[in-house]
Amino acid sequence: MPKITMRQAITDALREEMLRDDNVFIMGQEVGVWGGTYAVTRGFYDEFGAKRVRDTPISEMVIGGAAAGAAMNGLRPVAEFMTINFAFLALDAIVNHAAKVRYMFGGQMKCPVVYRAPGGGGRQLGATHSHTPDVIFAHFPGLKVVSPATAYDAKGLLKSAIRDDNPVLFIEHHTLYQIRDEVPTEEYLVPIGKSDVKREGTDVTIVGYAQGLQVALDAAAKLAEEGISAEVVDLRSLRPLDMGPVLKSFQKTFRAVVVEEGYRTFGIGAEIVARLHEEGFDYQDAPIKRVAQYEVPLPYSRELEQSALINVDRVIKAVKEVL
């Protein structure tokens, strides 16, 4: 199986879905002539034309809302926010419109829109451009939120998202575009709302997703050198959240650490810990630890920024605390 980057996997997913279904189109800032600010849609403008690869003005509110409206009226838009930080401007369009229209009107309409948004910290972009605000979006029923950690999952999940009849926010961690893993050449889908065991182990369960999952895997590899066997579970989807594999693993290891790049307070980890407490209390042998970003706006200077973010050492330290 060829190894490709997550960037290529996303590009391939978009292209395959556009070839499969004429109602799939792309809209967003610099998706066309420029080729995508992260080069995901390079070549698309020439291949598919201006009708299906639509450059927009810098207008997140209408990108969010018009994509939803087009989806309500039969199309399958993939709307790209240049970064998830800018999607704050479209929060109302996404959570108050795209995610509400079906329920609010008694099931009369569906809104099969995909919002793609690169995000995350670690690239020295300063406080406003480095958010990992996934939990904000994952809070609301009616919306689906996914964020892959591998090229394989990115491709399969994005294809599922485009075919899904519901609004899906697809969050791409911008430090993961260059990671590579095996991706089949034949068609496959990865279901939304299914967690996945990415590494098997017996001593401790490490739960993560996206960039946090990669940090967790790196930590697990190092722990193995010390004879500690960590099982790593990838959430992949934040809503719907699939606790099945997490609980199953916890029932085996009795100990858990949750890794996320966002803030600890009211974060993904808080939810996972609460669910483990509610649904797996009898299996708990130690306090469950959370590894998350420190509670500061992210600074520019490289070392300073890195010190605020999650890393392998912090995960290893947390694991040792629960063992």
Binding site: P57, G64, A67, G69, A70, A71, G107, M109, P141
Partner: protein, 320 residues
């Protein structure tokens, strides 16, 4: 305009007003909850403009949305049932007064967030342009919507992409209790449209003929020139913003002055002056409408409330 059409318009205007009056009554009896925004005074806008649409044209509006639903052709009994939160309501009791829609009639709904539906209307139009149809979207909003970012981004994008949208601002002089001149740096809405390449036209919207004429021309222009159009309907709401509005922001004299131009009165006078209809014919329609509304209330009252199991239905398509 033939007699039959004019009497049909008259009937529609009276139906809207009677529906609203009944809603007011039911609200005061505690049978309608939440917020309730009445359309009384603005009937000529919905009736004049929606009668100018083609069947495949779409409608979308904000939260003062009962009239647009009636004009879309939805039976008032399903609207009344929604008001009462019943399972037979057009939105199955999930939406309420502000969130009526009837997709089977290309009515995409009323929306409670000021301006939030304007990009949706633009997107609905984008889908029609994409599919290559000759449908247009009639996207209604209040004057208050023209001060929010959504409005400006949506008009700009519609202009850039030449989308088939007719933006219809129902300028009823107040955004809640704040007069237009206290909320908008320019005095007219058409000035704002000009910034996005739309000429725009102000319409005496107490007069249903003026509204119909202007809408027809605008829709023709959209279909010919494939570009968005803009109408500013000068109108007035005779009631408060919503139920419970203390009405401290305008004088009784001002209200009375506008009421002299009651849109139903203007049509009535036209029908009598031109001898298109007799008072008896109109009285007959009034009576029929009254009965239709009473039947709708009875249907709503007798309908069941939604089963509690429906709470979890339609959060997602293909429920998880």
């Amino acid at each position: 305009m033939d007699k039959e059409t004019l009497l049909h318009w008259y009937r529609q205007m009276v139906l809207i007003r009677t529906f609203e009056q009944k809603c007011s009554e039911l609200y005061q009896q505690g049978k309608i909850g939440g917020f309730l925004h009445l359309y009384i005074g603005q009937e000529a806008v919905a009736v004049g403009s929606i009668n100018a649409r083609q069947e495949n044209d779409h409608l979308i509006t904000a939260y003062r949305d009962h009239a647009h639903a009636i004009m879309a052709g939805t039976d008032v009994k399903y609207l009344m049932a929604e008001m009462l939160g019943k399972a037979t309501g057009i939105s199955k009791g999930k939406g309420g007064s502000m969130h009526l829609a009837d997709v089977s009639k290309n009515y995409w709904g009323g929306y409670g967030i000021v301006g939030g539906h304007v990009p949706l209307g633009v997107g609905i139009a984008l889908a029609e342009q994409y599919k290559g149809t000759d449908s247009a979207v009639l996207c209604y909003m209040g004057d208050g919507s023209t001060n929010i970012g959504y409005f400006h981004e949506a008009l700009n994008l519609a202009g850039v992409w030449d989308l088939p949208v007719l933006f219809i601002v129902e300028n009823n002089q107040y955004g809640m209790g704040t007069a237009v001149e206290r909320a908008s740096a320019v005095k007219t809405m058409v000035e704002k449209a000009a910034a996005y390449g739309m000429k725009g036209k102000q319409v005496d919207a107490m007069n249903v003929f003026e509204v119909h004429n202007a809408t027809q021309k605008a829709l023709q222009a959209i279909r010919k020139g494939k570009a968005p159009q803009f109408l500013e309907m000068i109108t007035y709401r005779f009631e408060g913003h919503s139920m419970g509005d203390p009405l401290r922001y305008r004088s009784k004299e001002e209200v009375h002055k506008w009421q002299e131009n009651d849109p139903i009165g203007i049509l009535e006078k036209h029908l009598l002056d031109e001898k298109e209809a007799t008072q008896e014919e109109m009285d007959q329609i009034d009576e029929e409408v009254k009965q239709e509304i009473e039947a709708a209330v009875q249907f709503a009252e007798e309908s069941p409330f939604p089963a509690l199991e429906s709470l979890f239905e339609d959060v997602y398509a293909n429920d998880l």
